[in-house]
């Protein structure tokens, strides 16, 4: 019995879970939820995710939503296979958690509305709020300087190894790098080095292929 992921391979939050599956070598099945027709707001999906968002998972009788909780669950359940995403001690895990929480509270709050305006709205034929985007980019610059400083003395966000703290950034980073925000990353030596290492990972390459972004 294989875990079912309700969502789609091109959406950022489902990608967070898919990346975890790929890093941990966990088999899965994607059940497509059509965001363009607002399938996620319909009664059938609301039973899986009451806030009307993707992803949700079903693993036999076990059901869960919130991509970061799902990723954490699988990273813990399969701690003995694939990449170790959660550190080697309670203290190390706390540092991983710290930088994973930074993704939620400092990075995603800026990255998400930028991607919404620069990528999603044009696709839906809606107008982009250019003034807002410039404001958000200015704030993002301040945050990226902190990351730059962290990555100057650490290979990855939580230390010497790739962990959930890095993985959780990748979906939104992937989208940001397809916009002119990529210049902000390329202008920062350590962030650039970190992103190149992350995107060289086989799991990421596999995900991008599944999403139809790379040959």
């Amino acid at each position: 019995m294989v875990v079912k992921l309700y969502g789609l391979v091109t959406a950022a939050c489902p990608q967070r879970v898919l990346l975890c599956f790929l890093e941990k070598e966990i088999e899965f099945e994607i059940v497509h939820v059509d965001l363009d027709t607002l399938e996620q707001k319909k009664p059938e999906h609301l039973l899986r995710q009451p806030f009307g968002q993707v992803p949700a998972i079903e693993d036999g009788d076990f059901k869960l939503f919130e991509s970061r909780a799902i990723a954490r669950y699988y990273a813990t359940k399969y701690s003995n296979q694939g990449t170790n995403l959660l550190g080697k001690s309670l203290e190390h895990r706390a540092i991983v958690d710290q930088w994973a929480d930074v993704e939620t509270h400092y990075f995603n709050v800026l990255a998400f509305p930028i991607v919404l305006n620069l990528v999603i709205k044009p696709r839906l034929g809606e107008e982009c709020d250019a003034v807002l985007v410039e404001e958000l980019k200015a704030k993002l610059g301040v945050v990226l300087d902190i990351y730059e400083n962290r990555l100057a003395s650490n290979r990855f966000l939580a230390g010497d190894e790739f962990t959930m703290a890095d993985l959780t950034h990748m979906p939104a980073m992937g989208y940001l790098m397809r916009t002119d925000v990529n210049q902000m990353v390329k202008a920062r030596v350590n962030m650039n080095r970190w992103w190149e290492e992350l995107t060289a990972r086989p799991a990421w390459k596999k995900l991008m292929k599944m999403a139809g972004f790379e040959a």
Partner: protein, 213 residues
């Protein structure tokens, strides 16, 4: 042993999340006051504790952390044997843990952004001599009402958010809930019987009373 230190402000929602956890676990600690009004959280000295310039920051011996929810999630298992159990009854049951984790994500992503904004408008703005923007309040309350409808359905089935016992998931909500109870937004809780009961339970806990002093 160097002991536990919290760098923060006794009135800050995020700092209180950590203080609550320490009180629930009966842990001794030192609260090192950071003067937010004077911008102390943006000074070089504080930035060495949290490069993002926000409270709280935390030390336990050699371990240094920031992000309140990472801190609480360290304290709960690290001191599992003492005080209130803030994890699920069977702390080794992974599925149960995941349900608690899911609830913590919901608090961080769905509840806190709205609750914090409302606390800012109703309470903290006044402290800084600014005025409440009623249009923002109306907008955020409408969104929070929808979120609390989901909570109402959940709390019909379970006594607490992650099951039948009080866990970190419930605790993470307490500081913002306490502030909102002192504002007109309180009605969103009292209008929903199961949410209202849950609010009463979690705010009457001795640790919850302690952080108000």
């Amino acid at each position: 042993m160097a002991g536990i230190k919290v760098f923060g402000h006794a009135a800050s929602i995020s700092t209180r999340r950590v203080l609550l956890t320490l009180h629930e676990k009966n842990l001794d600690f030192e609260l090192v006051h950071v003067d937010l009004k004077d911008g102390e959280h943006k000074t070089e000295s504080f930035l060495s504790h949290n490069p993002f310039g926000k409270v709280p920051a935390f030390e336990d011996g050699d371990l240094k952390l920031f992000e309140s929810r990472a801190i609480t999630q360290y304290i709960a298992p690290r001191y599992e044997g003492q005080g209130t159990n803030l994890l699920q009854p069977d702390s080794k049951n992974l599925a149960q843990y995941a349900i608690m984790a899911m609830g913590m994500q919901v608090e961080a992503h769905q509840f806190d952004p709205l609750a914090s904004k409302l606390a800012w408008e109703h309470v903290f703005k006044l402290i800084y001599g600014l005025t409440t923007d009623q249009a923002v309040v109306a907008e955020e309350e409408a969104k929070l009402a929808k979120v609390l409808d989901v909570y109402e359905a959940r709390l019909k089935e379970f006594k607490y958010l992650a099951g039948d016992t009080f866990t970190l998931t419930d605790l993470h909500h307490i500081p913002a809930v306490q502030y909102l109870l002192e504002t007109p937004t309180k009605k969103l809780f009292t209008e929903r019987p199961h949410v209202n009961k849950w609010v009463a339970e979690i705010t009457k806990r001795p640790a919850s009373q302690k952080i108000l002093q």
